[in-house]
Point group: C2
Chain length 323, copies 2
Amino acid sequence: MISTRLTEKLGIKHPIISAPMAFAAGGALASAVTRGGGLGLIGGGYGDAEWLAEQFDTAGDAPVGVGFITWSVQRSPELVTETLRRRPAAVMLSFGDPRAFADEIHAAGATLICQCQNLDHVRNAVTTGADVIVAQGSEAGGHGALRGTLSLVPEVADFLRRESPDTVLAAAGGIADGRGLAAALTLGADGVLMGTRLWASTEAQVHPSHHDAMLAADGDGTIRTRACDVVRGLPWSTDFTARIRRNTFTERWHGHEDELAESISTAGPDYGDAWAAGDIDNAGVFFGEAAGIIHEIEQAVMIIDRIVSQAEDVLRTSAARCN
Amino acid sequence: MISTRLTEKLGIKHPIISAPMAFAAGGALASAVTRGGGLGLIGGGYGDAEWLAEQFDTAGDAPVGVGFITWSVQRSPELVTETLRRRPAAVMLSFGDPRAFADEIHAAGATLICQCQNLDHVRNAVTTGADVIVAQGSEAGGHGALRGTLSLVPEVADFLRRESPDTVLAAAGGIADGRGLAAALTLGADGVLMGTRLWASTEAQVHPSHHDAMLAADGDGTIRTRACDVVRGLPWSTDFTARIRRNTFTERWHGHEDELAESISTAGPDYGDAWAAGDIDNAGVFFGEAAGIIHEIEQAVMIIDRIVSQAEDVLRTSAARCN
């Protein structure tokens, strides 16, 4: 057991939140993480209300949260209102300005989690009244930005201690085992948010070929790119990129996004077909640098248990080195 | 005191190596780090034999090492031979294939340190017979690549445990306080190599205006770019970029390197003049993301002492959270 301000704030056993990964983090994964002692978040994705409702049904009684891509849900803000009727334990907002939603989320009794990629985001999240800040480093799979986790987390911890000492901090980006959880705690975080490690679980909604591709990859096998957003016609800010597997698609289009946008009438459907077929070469396969330390697809509860007990071992062993 | 395989291997008191930063890491800094209980490395830079000899003279009796930019010193390999006559405790090779120098370095009785930015580099360094591997993440100031420290270090630790268990591992990139040292140890490293934190010391050969610019910056104030290499006519591989302060120069030229190369006849001298004058807007100011947690220019010995005692505190406090 590792008790921190995050376990207290969220009323959970282990200081672990699962990332609300679009498509992959449905009700099965979120409820498994919550039952395993963490907090599971359903991925709000790009605003498919029906899919989201199904995922809450799947999660059933397990208290789970939800995460939205802020700029996307700003286009259909009623989705936040509808989702709050499901009484999520927490709502996480990432990639955009959270201010428009904060009051409504707090009024519904949910914990507001804001994911931040730099200090400006953190300043804004604190002003907005975030209860938990996730400092996400570039190692993360999927969308993110450029700061490294190891330097971002202590800097955010210092900022919060000075400016907003009641705000709780979770680290994200590259954390996939007990060493990463232990490191996050030593860097000043109160816990972690994990994506790739829980994407690599039996409960995640991931094509088996994508899982196999991740298991075969080392941590060098990914790249941050806009190509997968351009090909899907998703109007992501250029402040953010997605970390995906290096493959035929990224070799062809990364760095050639303008050309890709011009070819969208053929490249778009090709990408969609490849995604639907689980083709790992011609569509985005979304995982992070932590792929290099993940070697098995397992149940979420086993992943969480092992990470916590490994973190305890690592912290005790490291402390014992001090003499 | 934190005793690790790195302190044993190098015969030093604290598991801290100073980065051989070109221009900044002279004999004064290297000897101060060694006297402070770590291992100081003089920066071999781009092959100025006279400057290098002066720095060894300055270091005097203190056992220090030296670091070379591998591709650069390959153009004047006699510099390695000459330098080995100064009996360096260690030679670090970064940014290129170390194989051509390994035998000569070992024959001179020096420890071979290879800095690596990805798993391919590590595989090659192990084959080469590296005694110590530095796994350097993207957070680092100056030259480096794209993997984040937090995900790279445990992956390299696993690789070494499996393939070369006697090779010792140091973490680099974003480490500037006791939290970073503690995190490095929990991630599986035996110690750390620090650049920016020791660049921010009284002994580093850094223009006062550059120090002031770093103190004023947060960790978001840097960028990885090739522009500072293009303007200096340095034939760096595109596999590597330099992390420097965001300024007028990077705003103008980052992403426009081809145009910069065409303008070299005027842009080159302008950059050289700005560098010589300590102009923080029109030349590269080389520091890393750790700038956000550095608030004072101090003596190296004070920096090292505080980092070690903070790491001890952090590890003990974190271990005490496990119940």
